[in-house]
């Protein structure tokens, strides 16, 4: 664990939250997209994306050393990372009645993207809050290290 271990942890969190925000932006941007990809010759609307966050535990060498009883220096963890960006296949597409739409089916219904703007906004606020909290941690850390550098001056 180097002196910058905590900063690396926070940096990983900032990256993960940033990626989460990017995914949310993509969802919001595509709220009206009816032609996202072709499936069996038919256009499918945009499917909402989300991220899966997992905690990073530590390098394999750490676990090996702990198992061999050499050190017990693991367990603080190494931050977080985005392990997957999933497409939401469970939420059904929204059906909007608009017979004049190019992609309307025989009944006049258009399948819209399964993005709920309200939900995305809430997610965005949560991501922003986490991002800010991590920035606070980073600043606290930096001030601690700077203070340590002044020992003996």
């Amino acid at each position: 664990m180097t002196i910058f271990h905590s900063m690396n942890t926070t940096a990983s969190a900032l990256t993960a939250q940033r990626l989460r925000m990017d995914v949310i932006s993509s969802n919001m941007a595509n709220v009206d997209t009816t032609r996202a990809k072709q499936v069996n010759g038919e256009w499918e609307p945009y499917r909402r994306k989300s991220v899966t966050l997992t905690a990073q535990e530590g390098q394999f060498s750490n676990f090996l050393n702990v198992a061999m009883g050499k050190t017990s220096k693991h367990g603080v963890g190494n931050g977080v990372k985005v392990s997957k960006i999933n497409e939401d296949t469970e939420t059904p597409f929204k059906l909007v009645y608009d017979p004049t739409h190019v992609d309307a089916n025989e009944d006049g219904y258009v399948r819209m993207a399964n993005v709920d703007p309200l939900k995305e906004m809430v997610d965005l606020i949560s991501a922003t809050r986490s991002y800010e909290a991590n920035v606070t941690v980073f600043n606290a850390n930096k001030s601690m290290l700077t203070k340590a550098l002044e020992i003996g001056k």
Binding site: S6, T10, H74, V76
Partner: protein, 130 residues
């Protein structure tokens, strides 16, 4: 001649505790949105007493045997098996962590200040006030 006994070595212990706690807080806050993550904390007494291992350990004759000592991954660091988890299994209390962070920073700064004071006064004494 042991110039650095007593208070200075306790100050050093306190500083390692504060550094470790800072790392755990950073990790907790980083994982505030991770599903099934349980918050970690550092045990104060243990760090200060330089405890190496928990006294209750499993008799492991095979490396595959699980060690069931109190869930510690490092002297002093342990996980909360939280009763209050959010819907995604996450057990990090953001407000408590922020408060801990502020408290820990002040603690660390105070210790550094004291260490500085003691070392500087040693220096002054040795140099004879010159």
């Amino acid at each position: 001649m042991d110039l650095f006994g007593g208070t200075i070595s306790s100050l050093e212990n306190g500083l390692s505790y504060a550094t470790l706690k800072n790392k755990t807080i950073a990790n907790n806050i980083a994982n505030v949105d991770t599903p099934n993550y349980k918050a970690k904390d550092v045990s104060f007494k243990q760090m200060l007493n330089d405890a190496q291992q928990s006294s209750i350990t499993a008799n492991r004759n095979d490396v595959r045997h699980f060690d069931f000592s109190i869930k510690q991954s490092k002297p002093g660091v342990y996980s909360y098996e939280n009763f209050r988890a959010r819907h995604n299994g996450n057990g990090v209390n953001m407000d408590a962590e922020q408060a801990s962070l502020a408290e820990n920073t002040i603690y660390y700064n105070a210790l550094i200040d004291r260490v500085n004071g003691k070392l500087n006064s040693l220096n002054t004494v040795i140099k004879g006030g010159k």
